[in-house]
Symmetry: C2
């Protein structure tokens, strides 16, 4: 599944940062008492180009949505395996023939396969929604991503230094 | 970029749910006063098979990490374009030759290209970390993903009903 499409970086027609605030020199003075200092923007966030009218958060949410469909299919598959082998077989056979890359497309096709498959699709939709809202640990995701950024930085720089530094024992 | 590898659903040797608690019938009674009720598990979360020793959160964090590298490259590219066209050209040329699918691999290769490229790589690492920790709106991601689950459910079911229902005007 494509996590994101790498757009050319030269395509910089993006949105303005979301938290830009127009700061005026004297916001409460009438105009004739104001000096000629120009209005300026105070932007607290970095400008991310190339997302058009969407945002990085929207793009990430879209991919999380597909990820949750994948998780829901796994959960339902595991539940059915033990007590409804027929439905489990139906789901596995459908999975062999259809890609899970686009979650909604997969569910739409599953609904239309047969009335039995429709039941499976409804269950997957229910599990997906419940997993996203109740089970998935969003705080944990944020903590892990932040930790990963730190650990990767350290590893990349350590590897580089070890590779390029002069070893005095080799003299 | 592969958001996740679709593992076969039959591979169900997963981890136990994270919030399973062993509940005993009389936790504070000595054993000779206890009756014979067996210990039981109270699991609040759905069992997600097939992630081995990792977790769905870890998998998602790994993909967010690569996404942040992509975002950082875009941010640095946009910053350089206006005031350091030489460095911008270096980055664009390097991007043409190297894939951004694996963020850490991309940064490691950029560091080793030349001392000038190393400066670019250090800047990308710094921006990536700052973006992940300060700029990215995690709450917004959760809200959008949850909203997307609801909207998709409604859309899928509405489309199905419209497609399969009997139109009385056609009689």
């Amino acid at each position: 599944m494509e996590f994101f499409t790498v757009l050319p970086l030269t395509q910089l027609s993006g949105v303005m940062p979301k938290t830009c605030t127009l700061i005026r020199a004297h916001p409460f003075k009438p105009w004739w008492q104001r000096n000629s200092k120009p209005a300026r923007f105070r932007c607290q966030k970095m400008y991310v180009p190339g997302f058009g009218e969407a945002s990085p958060e929207k793009k990430a949410a879209n991919n999380m949505h597909n990820f949750f469909t994948y998780i829901a299919v796994r959960i339902v598959g595991a539940q059915l395996e033990s007590y409804n082998t027929e439905a489990h077989k139906d789901l596995m056979e459908f999975l062999d023939k259809n890609s899970l890359n686009d979650g909604d497309k997969f569910c739409a096709a599953l609904m239309r396969e047969s009335p039995r498959h429709k039941g499976l699709a409804m269950r997957i939709l229910e599990v997906r929604s419940a997993y996203c809202k109740n089970d998935f640990e969003w705080d944990n995701l944020q903590r892990l991503a932040s930790q990963m950024a730190d650990e990767s930085d350290t590893k990349l720089m350590r590897d580089y230094v070890l590779e390029t530094s002069h070893d005095p024992r080799s003299d």
